[in-house]
Amino acid sequence: MRTDTADVEQPAADPAFQYLSLGRKLKNNAATVVFTAAFLIAVVPLLWVLVTLLQRGLPPLLNADWWNHSFYGLLPSDFGGGIYHALVGTIEQALVCALFSVPLGVTVGIFLIEYGQNSRLAKTATFMVDILSGLPSIVAGLFIYALWITTFGFDRSGFAVSLSLVLLMLPLVVRTTETMLRIVPDELREASYALGVPKWKTILKVVLPTALSGIVTGVMLGLARIMGETAPLLILVGYSRAINFNLFEGPMASLPLTVYTARKTSTEAGEYRMWGAALTLVLLIMLINLLATLISKFFAVKTK
């Protein structure tokens, strides 16, 4: 019995498997090391930036005045004051921007997925959205300057900033809407049609609610992105150290503009304000990112 099994277990021919030559082994291991190293290299600047920000920006943030005061009346060498004026500006400009770009972007997304399909118009629009997403923010600012300020004759204002941010946020909203509408199962649309619901009502009452959480996530990520934009602000609005709630009149501070302006104050207090504002900006962006991630996690589109 035993000898029989031994015979059976013996390979009939030499094993086909060739042991790896040293060269191939070495190359394989070297590749693994190189690719892992590439990832680690990318993490270095991220941690470096964040640690720098925390080290230099945390002291001002721990001051109670930071969150409810402005820099109004401060001398260049004065410590103290707060970021409230810039928070107001950033949030107002971002919200007004969202007010325009979200309805517009969602409608464009609906057009591309539900109506356009493969028409030439839809293809051109997709291409233009791509171009828009690669538009340098300074060019967006210049365009609004040429349109809103030179041609229409309005003054520089926070509202002009919002308009330029619309150009930058629009492609982000369109992209998310497209992605989200695409993963809404067709069965839902068909079921709705079968019940005699017209197409527009199907989109509004069935498709959009299903995709809503994804779109909200995308909108929030887009907001986080445009809040950090500085370039259009430089040409479209003046900096103010006082609190200004009015988007349509007067200079208006915002977090990136505060960072940029404080850098020109070459005093210790200026540096203190600069890093404080920078950390506040990054914290705000991270907070919105985190909220967006949570929303997408808990209210994701239910596909089969």
């Binding site: 828009l132 365009f143 430089l234 900006l281 990054v282």
Partner: protein
């Protein structure tokens, strides 16, 4: 219409019932060619018509916006270009303060823009490719997503913060290396003395490194997506032939995703060309013409516009900056269009 469809539906129902009773040959089943859906053509509701035109209108609006950007920039640039005393393309001057004597040219701006973007691209491309391969092929499945999120976080840091970090933190650390390069490899033209001392850190070298960090998540994101789409059959085929992991990457993943990688890199290039505030903060502005070395300082198209924002007080001076912005718009338009074209031609027809 509804009257005529109802009986048809009923008869189809009986057909299915027949199939259930066990006569499949006679009833083709539910795959029966269904009658034209009633809401498709004959009945166009008012709501549908409105909704459709609104959606189409918004699509047209996007196209019109891009056209408007080009047209408005052109309209505002032309008077200044006509008033320009020197050649716009080949002059190295930038004097726009006096509207009656405009002297502006983009030669130096173009050099600083291209040099810093190319330094960034050369540094970022191999690293981004490595990261994308690591995330899609090497990283443990559970960790791949958080790792990818970490790389994406690089894109969440605003450019003004990168500017501060580059100018105040990174520059002092890397300037000894810049000095070493300048001393030992100075005989290569691009490492020769620039128009500012190599040790100052406020040069294209530092700017390029910071730009590389900024475009890394863009290139990685696109490349990762393409690499992840490599058909499993290709990978398994290579593995079955006894390929090592590296050989799998070289023979299946890389050929499949190469175009996507190049397209992603072009997108990164477009971003680098238009980056403004980080470079405005890092590069020191100098009136000495550049020496065509990576230790030059000066201004890019975008940072020149940002620096000039203080003198936006008359249409002719502004027009000079708008002309620079128009050039930037055209260049980024071309780069982005090329990127999308390369990207869309990747991986198609091979699956």
């Amino acid at each position: 219409m509804t009257d005529s469809t109802k009986p048809e539906q009923r008869s189809e129902g009986t057909g299915t019932a027949g199939a259930l009773r066990g006569v499949p040959e006679e009833a083709p089943g539910p795959e029966n060619p269904t009658p034209e859906s009633p809401s498709d053509k004959s009945v166009v509701r008012l709501g549908d018509r409105i909704f459709r035109s609104v959606a189409t209108g918004s699509g047209i609006f996007v196209i019109a916006t891009i056209a408007a950007i080009g047209i408005f920039l052109l309209i505002r640039a032309i008077p200044s270009l006509q008033a320009n005393e020197v050649s716009f393309l080949f002059s190295r001057e930038w004097q726009t303060g006096d509207p009656s004597n405009l002297r502006f040219g983009i030669l130096d701006l173009a050099w600083i823009t291209v040099a810093s973007s190319l330094v960034a691209l050369i540094l970022a491309m191999p690293i981004a490719c490595g990261i994308a391969l690591f995330l899609t092929q090497y990283a443990p499945r559970v960790l791949a997503r958080p790792f990818a999120y970490l790389v994406d976080l690089l894109a969440a840091v605003p450019s003004v913060v990168y500017g501060l970090w580059g100018a105040l933190v990174l520059a002092p650390v890397i300037s000894p290396f810049a000095v070493w390069l300048n001393n030992n490899l100075g005989w290569i033209p691009i490492f020769a003395d620039g128009n500012v001392p190599a040790g100052s850190g406020a040069n294209v070298f530092t700017a390029g490194i910071v730009l590389a960090v900024m475009i890394l998540p863009i290139i990685t994101g696109v490349t990762r997506e393409v690499f992840a789409r490599t058909p499993t059959a290709h990978i398994e085929g290579a593995l079955a032939l006894g390929a090592t992991k590296w050989e799998v990457v070289r023979t299946t993943v890389w050929p499949f995703g190469r175009n996507g990688f190049i397209g992603g890199s072009m997108l990164g290039l477009g971003r680098a060309l238009g980056e403004t505030v980080a470079l405005t903060i890092i590069l020191s502005y100098t009136y000495t013409p550049p020496n065509y070395s990576i230790f030059d300082a000066g201004a890019t198209f975008a940072s020149r516009i940002a620096l000039g924002s203080a003198e936006f007080n008359n249409n002719l001076s502004v027009g000079a900056y708008i002309a620079a912005g128009l050039v930037l718009f055209i260049v980024t338009f071309a780069v982005n269009a090329l990127a999308r074209w390369i990207e869309s031609s990747s991986g198609k027809g091979k699956e």
